[in-house]
Subunit: 440 residues, 2 copies
């Protein structure tokens, strides 16, 4: 399509008399931090591989046609509009050269005085390459759009076959992982099965569509209160979702999901939501990286052990505390709070003042299961049902970036609620899909 020959010479960021802070990643942590550094005597360079911030908690609504991708994404350049001495670069960081205090990226090198790693997390397949190849994950907007297209394509395909095993497999969803992502996706799919499929596919027996959620541990929503966990399971079962607990998935060859027991699922739509790991960048491996989770060990100032000029915040950072000996939960709140505090601390550091240690203010957890159904654990309060659902919506609208996004999401929710509908059920693949892979 396009073959303009680019030559990358430099990142073209002018030297400044102020110290340069480079932030890798424009997620919750990176954006909260950048906002705090506005109008300070520092130069800030924000690097991201996308030109937008993604509101990850609502990705499952993109996958299920409830929201447009554009309304949960926000241009990163717009976040920085009006900030002096700020630079954004669309780039992938390839390596951190801690000795030379610089980054190697696909668009050239850049030096830093202070570096903040806020790369977030990626799906953890625990080394199972077969599952990685065949299952879908849902950590980014392109992945969510691919899942949306796959779900819709599967129903179109189910119409075409006379083999009822194949038809059932095409309508059989297996969600691996019973955390908030898995639970919310299962609930949304159950609502679609009830409200949309019978109308959209009158010539298909969509009652045979099944939604399975498979959890390795013995309860859904680990980390939530026992009450929330139990209620979420009740809600899902009322919606017709099959909840499998204590079942560990061992493989998926693109046709059949195998487990540690003799339980098997034939499925054409397997979503892997069973774990995340820090999105590590080469260069900090050694002592910095916590075993197993791919997270970077930091002290109470989010400083990487052994590198006082390097910080890590959010999902990628592992700050062991008494309450959270294996680091804070990999969700939005620790990232936002660490970003804000680090903003203040970096200014203190530049001014040779003492930094303030991070103390996590756990605002609780919530998950929505479906129409009028959510569970909330907020401080000592545990509540479920309609009120929890309203709280969930309010909180998500509040944390969404951008006035227009909030308005569009709100209108979609009102519309979907009143009409029992989800209109963004579109198969859109900007690059043409290769259908040959579907042939025998």
């Amino acid at each position: 399509m396009f073959n303009f020959a680019f030559k990358y010479y430099t990142m073209n960021i002018p030297l400044s008399s102020y110290p340069r802070i480079v932030i890798i990643g424009g997620g919750f942590g990176g954006v909260s931090l950048a906002k705090k550094l506005s109008k300070k005597e520092v130069q800030v360079v924000l690097i991201d591989k996308n030109n937008y911030h993604t509101f990850q908690p609502l990705l499952y609504q993109v996958s299920t046609g409830g929201l447009e991708p554009d309304s949960i994404a926000y241009p990163l350049r717009k976040v920085l509009i009006g900030y002096d001495n700020f630079y954004f670069r669309l780039a992938e960081v390839e390596n951190i050269d801690t000795a030379g205090k610089k980054l190697n990226t696909n668009i050239g090198d850049i030096t830093y005085d202070y570096l903040v790693v806020a790369t977030g997390s990626e799906t953890n397949f625990f080394g199972n390459e077969e599952i990685e190849k065949n299952a879908m994950s849902m950590k980014s907007i392109p992945q969510s759009l691919n899942l949306r297209s796959l779900i819709l394509e599967n129903f179109e395909q189910a119409l075409l076959t006379d083999d009822y095993h194949e038809r059932d497999a095409l309508m059989n969803f297996v969600i691996v992982g019973g955390g908030p992502t898995g639970v919310e996706l299962a609930g949304a799919l159950a609502e679609i099965k009830k409200g949309i499929l019978p109308k959209d596919y009158p010539d298909l027996d969509t009652r045979r569509a099944q939604i399975n959620i498979v959890q390795g541990g013995d309860c859904l929503l680990p980390g939530f209160s026992a009450q929330a966990s139990k209620k979420a399971e009740d809600f899902l079962e009322k919606l017709g979702v099959q909840v499998w607990k204590g079942v560990r998935v061992t493989g998926y060859n693109g046709k059949t999901v195998t487990t540690k027991t003799d339980l098997k699922f034939d499925s054409a739509a397997v979503v892997w939501a069973a774990g995340v790991k820090g999105a590590i960048i080469p260069g900090l491996e050694g002592e910095g990286v916590a075993a197993g989770g791919n997270r970077i060990n930091v002290n109470e100032f989010n400083q990487v052990i052994g590198h006082p000029e390097i910080f890590a915040i959010g999902d990628i950072a592992c700050m062991a505390t008494v309450d959270n000996p294996r680091g804070h939960p990999m969700v939005a709140q620790p990232a936002i709070q660490q970003g804000k505090l680090l903003g203040e601390n970096l200014i203190k550091l530049v001014e040779h003042k003492a930094m303030k240690p991070f103390i996590y203010n756990d605002k609780g957890s919530m998950a929505t299961i479906g129409r009028n159904k959510a569970v909330c654990d907020i401080n000592k309060f545990r509540f479920q049902g309609v009120f929890a659902w309203f709280v969930w919506m309010f909180v998500h609208l509040f944390f969404l970036i951008g006035f227009r996004n909030r308005m569009v999401v709100f209108i979609n929710w009102v519309y979907n609620y009143i009409r029992f509908d989800r209109e963004a059920r579109l198969i859109i693949r900007p690059f043409k899909r290769d259908y040959s892979q579907f042939k025998d």
Copy 2:
């Protein structure tokens, strides 16, 4: 990613005692026709290669970040909800077997009693393969999204080079074709240059960005009144667009646009809006197809010459009349009107009654150039400016399908107007882009 092995057996459409009408294409024509056939004694099969209807007149707003793609697309299955005896199939038609009265598609064959070809049009490169390979076109949602990503990527790239020729080329837009699509796109890009680029790229001299519109003929908006054409040119020039008339583009190698004269443009973003042709399907070539335009000759009932059971409507149909000796203009109105009338005529045909000939009710033409700037030719009325701009918006909202789409588009327009903004400036490519093509 996904390797479920599909075996296509059949389209799985049951035989009915009613005659079967197969419609190829869910654009303005196909949808208008389908709506008219609801609750009639016919079986209707609608085939489209997308599962959604595209509101093509607003594609340029998707390309320029003003609207989300999902708000100008509408699920075709939802159009048909509640219609009895209707079937939708996501398929590409490969051939029309007129002798066997059946279609060959990528998901199997299907017979028809009556066939309606409503495949619309595609970009016409007039056989120039070099331009086809290197220029962007804007006839579908994936194409519009690719153009949006390309525009944004070019500005990101422009930041990185020290070669000012290259930087200028990356910020140099060449729009080939001065019809409504070219004019509307040029205007939107000019608004972006004025309102968004200086804020988004403070470290880039975006005053050097140029928008060129190149028209082979001697006026913009051919087919409009001389007054509208002149005013559109004034509007564009006021917005800083360079208007080149009487210039025929001969090539584009991915770097340089060549013309019949010695005028050249170095550009990394060339949009080809210089022509469309009917999206022909093999099988009707012979006498049915009009020379040059790839359109199918039809009589006053939209019946294909020599095939009384085959009809063509909309862009693909060429109905020569006194007012339009080379067929009606390839825009939405003739398609909608022909679709509605054919719906009535097909029922008449089934009931052995006389069909009604098509008479085009020309409702006029309009194009928007930018904020408060549009031109309208409606019957004898020619008006331009703010009022025309309101009329343009009202008409487009009216013809958009779906209440939610209208609401979301309306809110975006109000927001964009008040804030001088376009927030959907996101580089989203669901399939990972191969960056190696950018390297030398």
